[in-house]
Structures are given as structure tokens and as C-alpha cells.
Amino acid sequence: MSDIAIRVENLGKAYRLGSETEQAETFVEAGLNLIKAPLRNFRKLRNLDTFSTDRSADDILWALDDVSFDIRRGEVVGFVGRNGAGKSTLLKVLSRITEPTTGRIEIHGRVSSLLEVGTGFHPELTGRENIYMNGTILGMKKAEIDRKFNEIVEFSGVERFLDTPVKRYSSGMKVRLAFSVAAHLEPEILIIDEVLAVGDAEFQKKCLGKMEEVAGSGRTVLFVSHNMAAIQNLCGRAISLKAGLVVDDGPTKTVIEDYLARFKSEATSGFHNNADRKILSSTQVTDGRMLNSKGVATQAPCAGEPTIFELDYKTSEKSVDAIFDIVIANQHNVAVTQMRTEPPIQLGKEGTVRLTLEDTPLPIGKYTATVTVKDARSFKNIDKVPSAFSFEVFILKDFFHLERVNTQYCSTLSRQKVEHITERQEEQIEEANPAN
């Protein structure tokens, strides 16, 4: 028997995008369109699954493009990439949910794929019934579930509600039950998509423990996650995807570092061409950068390490006392932490203000930072840059003593450091003071 578990050769998957329908310009044309619409719609629907060999057609998106790799038996491989890179499509093709458009995959061994926890769960069925339903959908035999039933129930911790319809469960209970079923699969090859993003912190820890157990038991595991810490813990090898292409393949550590580094080159800065920004006075923040602890520009800071925000300013006014203020908001646009220069800074003609967010105590996720400069005397805004920075926080070490922190349960207390550099004074460091 060969020791290859999965061989992927020149895999491609195309999707048809909705193409724009032409707009009627006259009333008659609108009437004609109305008559022709059913026929046009029919053609559009019929074409949903047909692709010309012409790769350049503009309404076709290649979600995967010429992807090739081999995975050996027993290897635990993590897939990284931003949203839309093709990770989920790859897993779907590997799980036989959808067929590739080109290429070939050879899988040696039985596969179970977990692209979602609780597939097939029905709210009207009881916990007991759903264990059987979900288990058979995941490919278990009834006899196998009978054998593992007690174990599954015990792991989920919902013994008392086993005969209650799942619709009366709390969402956490539902997820725990679903994960417990999935955790007791014993396939040779396991495909997992981001299922760790469930449950409360305690249960997540339990899940990760189970995952490590699976990964350590000699099974082949393919794992997609945005949780870099989890990937680093579980996987020996990582494959990085971008726009449907494999851009990196190798030991997890180097692949992840390269992946995070790539964020900076794709950075979009809110300081230039920002439509929401208004000129309020002659004092302006001209540019800004985010740096990591090594002083390298980044768009993907890591929790547990300091993040430095550098703001360049210029002013034509004399003796302005200004307060620089950075408010960081999460993806729900809720402010989570704030930094400001207090006491105010006396501005030179031009200079740089450097605010350091110690430890970057933010749960992983996407954030935007708004920069405001206030006149310390009138307290009026003299410059405001909405969405000056957008970035994504990752975790590389176990900073929170949890693998992943649920935003809902997390409040942060941040420490900051302020530095001011002007042409006159080379460096003037003000004392670190806590904010928020």
C-alpha cells in the first residue's frame, strides 16, 4: 500500500458569477425585455453548470486554479488563506460535495468531513434522535453509534436533556451535542473546516484537546482555520492559498509567518484617498503605519505582542497643543480600546507620534482604528481620519491562556506608551500611562 493518503492533481473549480442584465432604456424595450426575460433566465439557469474552456470568460470565477499537492498518511495539514482564497471550496471538492471542473483527486481511505457541526440536526427531534441522525449522515453505521452512544452523551454533557427536542436546547447545548457526535468519528482521513469556532471557552478547550488527540492518533487530518494558534499547535505542515492558487506549502511555522507577512503588502491605508476624511484645519496627519515589536510594518498584529501605531503629522500653525487619539473598533463597530496622548503634545512643524499598544490585548478578529487629533485647549477636532487602519489580530502564542477568545466574553484593559519625535527634539519619550 502506498503511503499517500490524498493526491490532488491540477485541480480546478469554476463558478459562474451572476452577470449583469442589460437595462431597458425605453418603455418598449422594457416591455420586450419582460417578454424575453423567461427565455433569458432559462439560459442563465441552464448555464449555471456549464463552462466553456475559455479561461478568460469574465463571468467565471476560478475558485481553485491548478491546485496540486500530495498528503501522506498520518499527516496533519492546515490550510490558511484569507476569505475567498479557495480553502472551503477545496474542502468541499475533497469531501465530494461538489465536483471539480478540472483535475483529479485520489483518496486512499475512508473520509469524514466536518464542514459544519450538526449537519442534519432537526429541531423537532430529541437529542437522542439527533445523535443517530447526525451520526448516520456523517457516515457512521447504526451499530457504531449504538456502541459509542454513552461516550458521546458523556462528552456533550447534555445527559439530562437527551429526550427533549433540540429546539428547546440553548445554542451552546446544541453545538456541544453536535460536536460530540463529530468527535467520535473514526475515519482514516478527517476533513475539518473551522469547527472550533463554537461553544464557550471551556468547551472549546475540550474540543481542541479532542482534536489534538485525533491528530496525534496517526490519522490524516486536513484542517482549515483562521486560528493560527490552533493550526500551529495541531499541524506539522501548512498550505497557504490565495485566489485559488497554492502560494506556499511547507512546515507550519514558516508558512504562517509568510502568510502573516503578506498582509502588509496588501495593506490599504486610510490616510490617502479616504472619502470619509474631511480637512478640518492646517494640522494634518499625513501618514500612518502599524509596526510589530521588531519594527516591521504589519497589518496582522499578534495578541501578546506590542503593536506600534506611527502617525506622521504636519502643521503650519505655531504652538498647537494636540491630543492624538486612536479608537480601535471591532468588526461590529464597537469601540474596544482607546489610546491617547495625555498630557497633550506640543506640535512642531512636522513630526511623528508613536503610540504603542502593549500586548495588543485583542481577541482575534478584524478591527479598524480611527485617528483623531484634538486641540487640547478648545477640545475641537483638528483632524480626523476614519478607518485609518484596518487590521486583523492573530494569536501565535497562548496569550489569553485559551486557544481562542470569544469576543462576547472579553473585555480588555490595555496599556500604552507614547513617543513623540520632532526635528528639534530627536526623541522625547513620555511616561507610559494606562488608558481605558
Binding site: I97, T98, E124, E129
Partner: protein
């Protein structure tokens, strides 16, 4: 690599490649998913009558209510003849298989769309889904058959030797429902029009089958053409066996059997041909 599982030692290889055109049915795989098939049938039954006070009673209520309405309108008001049997019984004998057929079609067709969440998240032989719907409806069918038996006793009608044909008729009924159902399911997932037209279409179809009227009302020269609808053979066969209102219509049954086999085979083939795109277009 030691393989500590109890699986057969033979290597289990899956090849995933793009497919176009026709594909045969993978019977071995279907057998492996047998448990899922039965659980899906069971789930369909269980879920359908969950949190309702009369539960499975609904399986009986639907044909019974239709029977009452038809008896009043067609039996009494319009005066449709019923080949000598009591009109209520005449209609009910047809309504039992018809309800099974109609519900299998409408629900089966919707099955892929309503379960699209499942289809896009996990692999299983897609054929299982619409077939499990039919399996669940078959349970309803047998419950109604029991009621039919009670009604026959009540009216004092004794079934004749024709009942030995009933299993054949039930198979014919099931595979034509499955065949047409598979066609429509495969079409419905890509063209939602099928879903919208379904309940209305099934209603129209009922008048193309001898549910409220006897086949004897159809002009002689059109009868064989009429029998292309497999439900004609099934319903008239039911009447012949249970009510004895006519001889066993072997000609209708023969035509219907051929049509239902063709429907089923082509339905399975079309479904298999289209199934690889389900997850993408659902």
C-alpha cells in the same frame, strides 16, 4: 502505518474527477448508506407529525376529507357515475394511491431544495434524499390502506381474487412516483419554477387520472392513450381488486408498467447526470 481499525484490509480508494454525461448507479455505495436511508425515512415521518395532536391521523384525514368533498360534489351534485359502487368508496379506493403519489411528488421535489443546507455541507448519495421521502409517504399509504379495509367492511364489500395483483400495483405506483419525482427533483434544484408549479400541477394531474370519475367515461378510442398515465392502471386495478366494479384492466396495467419502468430508469439516470451540480446550484 498500522491500521488499527476493523475495516476490511483492502485499500479503499476514491477517485474524484469531473463528470459530464451519464453515470450508472453505484449500488454498492447505496447499500453502505442503508442506515442513513432508513433514518431519513424515520426522520421524515417523525418530523411531519411532531407537535400535532392527531399526529399520524393526518395521513388518514387528507384522503377522507377529499372523499367527503368529492362525494358531495361529484357523487351527489354532479352525479358522476361510479360503476355501481357507492361513490364514497369508489372515490376513496382511488384517493388512497393518489394521495400517496401526489404527496411523494410534491414533497420529493421540494426535498433537495429544503435540504440544500445538508447538500452543501456533506456528501451522501443524493438519490437517498427523494427516495426517503417516498419511503416515508409509503408508511402513510399503508395506514390509509388499513382505513380503506375498515371502510370496505363497513360497506360490506368483499375484495375478490384480484387482490393478489395489489403488490404489483403498489410497486408500479411507487416506481412511477419515484421516477417522476426524480426527474422533477433534479429539475427543481436548478429551476425553481418546478417548485412553484408543483402543487398546482399535481392538482391538474389528478383530473388526468380516474380519481373522481371512472375510466369508462373516457371514449373507447382514447383509452389506451389515456392509459399512458400509469396512475390509470393503478387506480382501475385497485377498483377491480377491491370493489369488483370491473375486470382487472390488464391492458392498462401493462401499458402503465412499461411507462413506470421507463420513467423510473430515465429518472434515475437524469438525476445521476445532474447530481454533481446540486451543491453548486442549490
Amino acid at each position: 502505518m498500522p491500521d488499527q481499525k476493523t475495516h476490511a484490509p483492502k485499500p479503499y480508494v476514491t477517485v474524484i474527477e469531473p463528470h459530464t454525461g451519464w453515470r450508472s448507479v453505484d449500488w454498492k455505495e447505496l447499500r453502505e448508506y442503508k442506515d442513513l436511508f432508513f433514518f431519513l425515512i424515520w426522520r421524515n415521518i417523525k418530523v411531519r407529525y411532531a407537535q400535532s395532536s392527531i399526529g399520524v391521523g393526518w395521513a388518514v384525514l387528507q384522503p377522507l376529507a377529499s372523499m367527503l368533498v368529492f362525494t358531495v360534489i361529484f357523487g351527489n351534485l354532479v352525479g358522476v357515475e361510479s360503476d355501481g359502487a357507492a361513490y364514497g368508496l369508489f372515490a376513496f379506493v382511488a384517493l388512497v394511491p393518489w394521495t400517496y403519489f401526489a404527496n411523494s411528488l410534491t414533497e420529493g421535489t421540494a426535498s433537495m431544495v429544503t435540504n440544500s443546507g445538508m447538500i452543501s455541507k456533506i456528501y451522501f448519495p443524493r438519490l437517498i434524499m427523494p427516495l426517503a421521502i417516498i419511503g416515508a409517504r409509503m408508511v402513510d399509504f399503508f395506514i390509509s390502506m388499513v382505513i380503506l379495509g375498515i371502510l370496505l367492511l363497513f360497506y360490506g364489500v368483499m375484495p375478490n381474487s384480484g387482490v393478489i395483483v395489489l403488490p404489483l400495483l403498489i410497486v408500479m405506483l411507487t416506481i412511477s412516483a419515484a421516477g417522476l419525482g426524480l426527474w422533477l427533483t433534479a429539475l427543481a434544484i436548478q429551476y425553481r419554477d418546478i417548485n412553484y408549479g408543483m402543487s398546482f400541477g399535481v392538482q391538474l394531474l389528478m383530473y388526468a387520472a380516474p380519481v373522481v370519475y371512472p375510466t369508462s367515461m373516457i371514449p373507447e378510442r382514447f383509452q389506451l392513450l389515456y392509459a399512458l398515465n400509469p396512475m390509470v392502471g393503478v387506480i382501475e386495478g385497485f377498483r377491480a381488486a377491491l370493489l369488483g366494479t370491473r375486470d382487472m384492466p390488464w391492458d392498462f396495467i401493462a401499458i402503465g408498467a412499461v411507462v413506470s419502468v421507463v420513467l423510473f430508469a430515465s429518472g434515475v439516470m437524469y438525476f445521476r447526470r445532474k447530481e454533481h451540480v446540486f451543491a453548486d446550484v442549490a
